[in-house]
């Protein structure tokens, strides 16, 4: 692939910050453009800020603003796919895949980062990851982007083995923290964990290493 363009496809505003912002920052530091295709506005999220500042009807506005701020921190473009939080698995898979294929081709993606279907815990993660695979499979072999997948279920290594790619994102820790902090309505619990516990804390350590599996088409 002559030109590089990384396209990150996750369903919720903040998935990019928790799961891939170190990797995104690394690509940006190398001058590679990154676009985030964000599936939903996270309008069904349970976190309403602490103390509570959002309600079910206003949450989408907060999360949209937070996403814009995180994108600014990470120096990436964002496109909204316009689906509804917690409903992606009920959408016709083929329709989602067609839509994603069109987006991926328009952006001339050389690499797509998404969730590993079946190992991503949240039904939206699994559904969108599966749709990404279906979308990329529709693209001619020679122009297909690579797919890197983020697996987060507790037992995923039992099935999948060790990740293919492990980035120690310590050099980009400040960017990652800034991106996570931008998601005010969601990040509170995670931020207090980071602040309360020292750097050896498991959650913090997990955030400092970003792991991906490469998808292979049969």
């Amino acid at each position: 692939m002559s030109k590089q363009h990384v396209v990150v496809i996750f369903p919720h505003p903040d998935d990019e910050s928790f799961g891939a912002s170190g990797t995104i920052s690394k690509f940006r530091a190398e001058g590679i453009p990154v676009t985030y295709l964000c599936g939903t506005l996270g309008e069904m999220g349970r976190n309403m800020g602490n103390p509570v500042f959002a309600n079910r009807e206003t949450l989408s506005s907060f999360r949209k603003k937070e996403l814009t701020e995180a994108a600014k921190q990470l120096d990436i473009d964002v496109e909204l796919l316009g689906y509804r939080d917690k409903t992606l698995e009920f959408e016709p898979r083929e329709e989602v895949a067609d839509y994603l294929q069109q987006k991926i081709e328009a952006l001339q993606a050389s690499l797509v980062i998404t969730h590993y279907p079946g190992y991503a815990v949240h039904p939206d993660h699994d559904a969108l990851g599966a749709a990404v695979v279906a979308a990329v499979e529709k693209i001619d072999r020679e122009s297909r982007p690579e797919i890197w997948m983020h697996a987060i279920s507790n037992q995923h290594e039992d099935d999948l083995g060790k990740p293919d790619i492990i980035f120690d994102i310590a050099p980009y820790w400040e960017q990652k923290l800034a991106a996570i902090s931008a998601h005010l309505s969601q990040a509170d619990g995670m931020m207090s964990l980071i602040e309360i516990h020292d750097k050896k804390h498991e959650q913090t350590e997990r955030l400092k290493m970003e792991r991906f599996y490469k998808w292979t088409f049969s």
Binding site: N50, E57, T58, S61, K86, S153, D188
Partner: protein
């Protein structure tokens, strides 16, 4: 949202009775419940923009939180554990119950017009 004032909420429930209204009813313990605790179950239900007409409704204090029931001609709508309320600028009654970390556990909302999310209204 603010802590429920029972009489204010009861008055709003009365105002919205005997006419076609839209209801959002939701309860959840989150998509990660069994991820963080393998002994936990993921449970949740949500219905958005169900159109109903209730004959009357009542908010009952349980000491700390409230139960709200709406009597339909042929059935009921019911929510437990609501703690906070808001009557927003569209005249919608928004009720919600939050846990200690401010996470939403239950929501019951009643509106004269169909619900759309705020972010969509601004587009």
């Amino acid at each position: 949202m603010k802590v429920i004032e029972q009489s204010v909420v009861q008055e709003k429930i009365n105002q919205l009775a005997n006419q076609a209204v839209y209801v959002h009813l939701e309860t959840t313990n989150g998509a990660y419940a069994s991820h963080f605790d393998e002994k936990a179950y993921n449970v949740g239900a949500f219905i958005r923009n169900a159109q109903v007409t209730y004959q009357h409704g009542k908010i009952v204090s349980t000491g700390g939180s409230y139960r709200v029931g709406l009597k339909l001609e042929l059935g009921w709508v019911y929510a437990e554990g609501v703690t906070d309320y808001e009557i927003d600028d569209l005249g919608r009654l928004l009720l919600a119950g939050h846990d200690r970390e401010g996470r939403l556990m239950v929501a019951l909302e009643i509106s004269k017009s169909p619900f759309s999310h705020e972010a969509e209204l601004h587009e």
